[in-house]
């Protein structure tokens, strides 16, 4: 039997939240993950298209930091004027697919899809991003590292949607960088990617936020490595293969085996920090 599936595209957030409360709907944003998951010529199920809700798109400064609307696209992020702490996020955006994907794919979609290889996650982890979730019942804010709980798994409830990502002011300090490793130049799923944000004062690292993606079920910060950097000059040598290996749990797949992922993640992280050191030098 063909089921008549609805397609809702409200202008108002309240309206969307009401619809979500009423029944099981699939949220659609850029559809760059939704459409590839079906071979049909039409999105399956009843759809709640949130792209007409203006308040969900765009980046704004708030008293507490920066607010990135859920449907902000990669292109929006690339074009935005953001502090150096967000450069890693912008570099990640430039590495997503190619222009067609960047023009459509949204930051919240990337998180909800919860692929271990989601390029947005490591830089957002280094920014201590929080996920703002709204339902008809209210709003809750969940740290990003608690939001994604496994491959393709998040704590998003059926009646909720992400309205924004919040980056606290305290994490908008310092500089950041991002590197991605894949088997071809464009349109490539990461074998590994690393992001780093460092705050350096008087030549000494006072804050280090390092994250690795695609090397475990979810992207992760590496506190063991971060701890090694604090109180020293920026020096990638403290990022040893062994130390990184203890912090991640890589898988083997068609793109690479687990041993390679561990080694390459460490190398990539060192290079990310090295690039960052050069950025910092250029900035002073």
């Amino acid at each position: 039997m063909t089921v008549i599936n609805s397609y809702l595209r409200p202008f108002a957030l309240e309206h969307a939240l009401e619809e979500l409360a009423a029944g099981s709907l699939r949220i659609a944003a850029g559809c760059t993950d939704l459409f590839p998951s079906t071979e049909h010529k039409q999105l399956q199920g009843s759809i709640l298209d949130i792209t007409r809700i203006k308040s969900l798109r765009g980046i704004s400064d708030t008293d507490d930091g920066i607010r990135i609307g859920a449907t902000t696209t990669w292109t929006d992020l690339i074009k935005a004027d953001l502090p150096p702490a967000c450069r890693g996020l912008q570099l990640a955006a430039q590495k997503v697919g190619a222009l067609q994907i960047q023009n459509r794919g949204t930051i919240a979609g990337n998180l909800c899809n919860a692929s271990p290889a989601a390029d947005g996650v490591p830089p957002l982890l280094t920014l201590d991003a929080k996920v703002e979730l709204q339902s008809k019942g209210g709003t809750r804010v969940v740290p990003l590292h608690d939001f994604i709980i496994g491959p393709r798994k998040t704590v998003l409830a059926e009646t909720e949607l992400i309205t924004a990502l919040l980056i606290p002011k305290s994490s908008l300090t310092g500089h950041s960088h991002f590197l991605k490793l894949g088997a071809r130049a464009y349109l490539v799923i990461s074998i590994a990617m690393t992001s780093a944000r460092l705050v350096v004062r008087n030549g000494v690292v006072v804050e280090a936020a390092l994250a690795i993606g695609s090397c475990g079920p979810v992207a992760t910060r590496v506190p063991q490595v971060e701890a090694q950097m604090i109180g020293k000059a920026v020096d990638p040598v403290v990022i040893t293969d062994d130390l990184v290996a203890t912090a991640i749990d890589p898988i083997a797949d068609m793109r690479a085996n687990a041993a390679y992922r561990a080694i390459s993640a460490a190398e990539l992280l060192r290079r990310t920090v090295l690039e960052l050191a050069m950025d910092l030098e250029a900035a002073t």
Binding site: C31, L43, Q100, A183, L187, Y260, S264, E267
Partner: protein
């Protein structure tokens, strides 16, 4: 259903559609904007790229609801002036081969050119990065976009008799650049039913149907289900009739993942929406093997009862005394190499439509071998040959996989059962599951040389995974031993091969029929051997290269051998690269550069078997010069090259020629587009028919020769020394085909079958080539970037240098993929997201050098080229990696983790 409003070319279109439908479907189906191509429905290929409010989007990822109220631009509907310039530039540069990626490329380029009228190379790469091209290697596309807004000087068309050798535009190019080309999925008349296949999702399984009738009743819009029980003919086809073993629809057992077991036919909209998960079928999985080692192993289940040890066929070529010569050799190298399944990944998935015209079944679909399609389809359907007509649509790439019938018999079954026109369009994953692949090979070889570096002996064995069915397995098994020596004199030789059945996808024809795999083995070992002999690697190859009068391992004496010339052409670049690389490596630790070289030879046409082409060339009473050009042009350019040859043979301007395509009802058989045979064999037939037509014209005029043949107001004018003779065409009697003057000539190359030791004359013409690659390896990550390639190819005569260059660049792209990234794993990489082919950013700088050592057998001296170009690329890259790192990669693709492991191993 609701309506959306689209703003297209300053007009408002209100379209009734479901909001969740892909915009690509709305544009193609409702608005008939067929330039929007569908290659994947997943954002991976970019063929569907359109502009929405001026920015590029994959239309397949846009729900119609999100396009509502927005400005949409497609190739047909965008800014005419910019498009005219872009189209001209694409034609001038030869940037469209098959043309399936062209609309998407142009849309992406349009966004860029509006912002940056004269972009640089990096800007073009960024802007076009989301569109894949499998044919061109991207270079000509980049050049076309960079030059779109610059003034071009238009070359005058070549004079009569002087088309050969000129880089003229493709004669079939206009439709490719303006979006009107009709590919397999582009012509589906209203009222056509849709056919969908039910396919095995197990590697090997028995199956039983449940209650099909009940299922049909439950699903509105489904007309019928077709199973093997509906097949009236012989449910067993195959490209090589003695080995035919493949059912159109499986009976009781499926042997590979993706094998079709039933067809569902019905109303397109209703059937498209069905999940088909509830189709009544039960599966009992059977043990399976996926690798050649497992397939040939003692525990393997036989796929075909009569093929012991799962062995389809063995091949061998033996000459001299290889074993004793090897013992006597001063230096011997031995190695084992492995290659993976490689997917053709043409951007156009298989598609077509079929209908009845009186009592003739007409099938219009993309193909490389219309007459073979006809024969196999008629056999399966139980129809006489004259009741099936194959009308090839434009093919959006083929590279070998569109030689085998794919959907033709299935469409035929559906039309015969329903009496209605039926269409079938494979999804990307269906295409990847069901189509043939390059044979994975496990090869070992030893090569011995004397103290002076002369090769004395070579032994080679390759096991090739031929998958579930025979397809072109026998061809690979015979071609490999013939070619495994490379273009080098090898007096003592034994090469053997075996094609092994497994439950992997069927391996078939893919540019080179196993020779690229064998070349990886031989050319890698040549590097090692050169090193052992202490001789420069290019010089070592030069010492051993075949020369005129040399005898091949098959015992054939060669003439017009161009390999030395290719190597010599590379020599200055080789020296220059070496100096540069040495300088680079003294200062760089993290990245190391290296130079690699490899050669190829490749026989054009079938191996020791007849493969004629017939070309008809006729003049109508109203003065049309119709060239029945039966060589399907899958982008490689036969429509242009064959016409250039025919025009020069006849002595008219090539622009006067009207091409009649490879429709089996109106054009004689030119065989299949494979084995690099079309320029040579169909070219010879075209040359002969051009000459015969010229002779017929001269006979009518009583002239001995003609300086010029032209057409003036229905009169054929023949000029000799200022003396004009006119023939009134409409006064001549027309033949059965409607021609007042006509020639039809056949050419079949002089070859002999090979004896039990592989001795004989397998081919009449060989082409030669050599390439050098400069690579840069990231020593800590194991990633490789190919920086530059120089390719020297002896084409005998470059009929159209621009098309030849396009073949080289495209071949290098595929060779690079084979070397570095392409590995098809059934069940895992059945889409273009996980199966990686080179993007615009992966291509090296390429310099092509065309060498012309004419072959007396080839038309105007020409040799084949299409497959040769890919053969040296992978080994040249692997040799470059070895030179850079000291690590020898023995399994391709050299994915970063494999290369890093090899680097670590070489350092201990």
């Amino acid at each position: 259903m609701t309506s959306i409003t689209l703003n297209i070319a300053h007009q408002t279109h209100i379209v009734k559609t479901h909001m969740a439908r892909r915009l690509s479907e709305v544009l193609r189906d409702d608005l008939k904007l067929k330039s929007v191509k569908i290659g994947c429905d997943a954002g991976d290929c970019g063929a569907c790229t359109v502009l929405i409010d001026g920015a590029q989007h994959c239309a397949c990822l846009v729900p119609a609801g999100q396009a509502d109220g927005r400005k949409i631009e497609t190739l047909e509907t965008s800014e005419p002036q910019l498009f005219a310039r872009l189209q001209d530039s694409f034609l001038d540069h030869g940037a469209a081969q098959c043309g399936i990626c062209t609309p998407g490329m142009m849309m992406a380029a349009t966004e860029l050119l509006r912002a940056v009228p004269s972009p640089d190379q990096a800007q073009v790469k960024e802007a076009l990065a989301g569109v894949l091209c499998r044919c061109t290697g991207y270079h000509k596309i980049i050049a076309a976009v960079m030059d779109a807004n610059s003034q071009t000087t238009v070359c005058p068309p070549p004079k009569a008799g002087h088309a050969v050798g000129q880089p003229i535009r493709r004669l079939d190019g206009q439709a490719k650049v303006n979006g009107t080309e009709v590919f397999g999925a582009d012509f589906i008349p209203d009222g056509t039913l849709l056919v969908r296949a039910i396919r095995a999702q197990h590697y090997h399984a028995d199956f039983e149907f449940g209650d099909l009738l009940a299922w049909i009743k439950m699903h509105a819009g489904v007309e019928c289900v077709i199973t093997a029980a509906d097949i009236a003919g012989i449910n067993c086809y195959g490209v090589i009739p003695p080995f035919a073993d493949q059912p159109a629809l499986a009976e009781k057992t499926t042997r590979y993942r993706g094998e079709p077991v039933a067809l569902v036919v019905g109303d397109p909209k209703a059937l498209e929406a069905l999940g088909l998960d509830d189709f009544p079928i039960s599966w009992t999985p059977r043990p399976h093997s996926l690798t050649q080692a497992d397939g040939a192993g003692p525990d393997a289940t036989l796929l075909h009862d009569h093929r012991q040890e799962n062995t389809l066929i063995r091949g061998n070529v033996v000459s001299g005394a290889p074993d004793s010569a090897m013992v006597e050799a001063a230096h011997v190298v031995t190695g084992q190499f492995e290659t993976s399944y490689v997917e053709h990944a043409y951007i156009e998935p298989e598609a077509g439509v079929a209908w009845m015209e009186a009592d003739v079944l007409c099938i219009q679909a993309c193909t490389q071998a219309p007459v073979m399609d006809l024969e196999d389809t008629a056999k399966v359907l139980g129809l006489p040959l004259n009741k099936v007509r194959i009308i090839p649509s434009a093919a959006g790439g083929g590279f070998g996989a569109k030689l085998d019938v794919t959907l033709q018999p299935l469409l035929g079954l559906a039309v015969l059962k329903t009496g209605m026109p039926c269409s079938m369009v494979f999804s990307r994953s269906e295409s990847m599951q069901a189509s043939t692949k390059r044979h994975p090979g496990s090869m070992q070889a030893s090569i011995g040389a004397d103290a002076a570096g002369k090769v004395m002996a070579m032994t080679f064995h390759g096991d090739f995974n031929t998958g579930a069915y025979a397809s072109w397995g026998p061809t690979v098994a015979t071609r490999v031993p013939v070619h495994a020596s490379g273009p080098y004199l090898t007096p003592n030789y034994r090469a053997t091969s075996r094609a092994v059945h497994t439950n992997g996808p069927t391996s078939g024809a893919f540019r080179g029929f196993g020779v690229p795999q064998a070349a990886i083995t031989q050319e890698s070992l040549y590097d090692d051997l050169a090193q052992k002999c202490g001789i420069d690697r290019l010089e070592f190859r030069r010492i051993n290269a075949l020369r005129d009068g040399d005898v091949t391992p098959c015992g054939q004496t060669l003439q017009a051998v161009g390999i030395i010339d290719c190597l010599d052409a590379l020599k200055p670049h080789w020296d220059e690269f070496h100096a540069e690389v040495t300088a680079f490596n003294t200062t760089s630790l993290a990245h190391k550069r290296g130079i690699g070289i490899a050669s190829c030879w490749y026989g054009c046409g079938n191996t020791g078997l007849p493969n004629p082409s017939t070309v008809r060339f006729g003049i109508t009473p109203d003065g049309q010069f119709n060239l029945h050009q039966g060589a399907t042009d899958i982008g490689q350019g036969s429509n242009t090259v064959i016409a250039q040859i025919a025009a020069d043979a006849l002595g008219v301007q090539v622009g006067m020629i009207n091409l009649v395509g490879p429709d089996t009802a109106i054009t004689p058989d030119c065989g299949k587009t494979s084995a690099s045979r079309q320029t040579f064999i169909t070219g010879r037939a075209a040359e002969a028919s051009g000459l015969a037509l010229r002779a017929a014209i001269l006979r009518l005029t009583n002239l001995t020769h003609a300086d010029e043949i032209t057409l003036e107001g229905g009169m054929l004018c023949v000029r000799q020394d200022q003396n004009d003779q006119k023939i009134s065409l409409k006064d001549l009697p027309a033949d059965a085909n409607g021609y007042v003057l006509c020639a039809e000539e056949t050419y079949d190359p002089p070859t002999t079958t090979l004896d039990e030791n592989g001795q004989g004359t397998p081919y009449a013409v060989y082409g030669y080539g050599a390439q050098i690659a400069e690579v840069e390896v990231d020593m800590a990550l194991g990633t490789t970037k190919v920086l530059r390639m120089i390719a020297a190819h002896d084409v005998g005569r470059a009929i159209n240098p621009q098309l030849a260059e396009g073949q080289i660049e495209g071949g290098i792209a595929q060779g690079l993929g084979l070397a570095l990234m392409e590995e098809y794993l059934p069940g895992e990489t059945e889409n273009l997201h996980n199966y990686l082919i080179p993007t615009i950013g992966d291509m090296p700088h390429i310099t092509s050098i065309l060498i012309e050592i004419p072959d007396t057998e080839g038309p105007m001296g020409a040799k084949g080229l299409g497959e040769h170009v890919l053969i040296p690329t992978a080994p040249a890259i692997l040799n470059g990696i070895h030179h850079a790192t000291g690590a020898r990669v023995t399994k391709v693709p050299a994915l970063p983790h494999r290369l890093l492991a090899a680097i670590k191993a070489s350092q201990t």
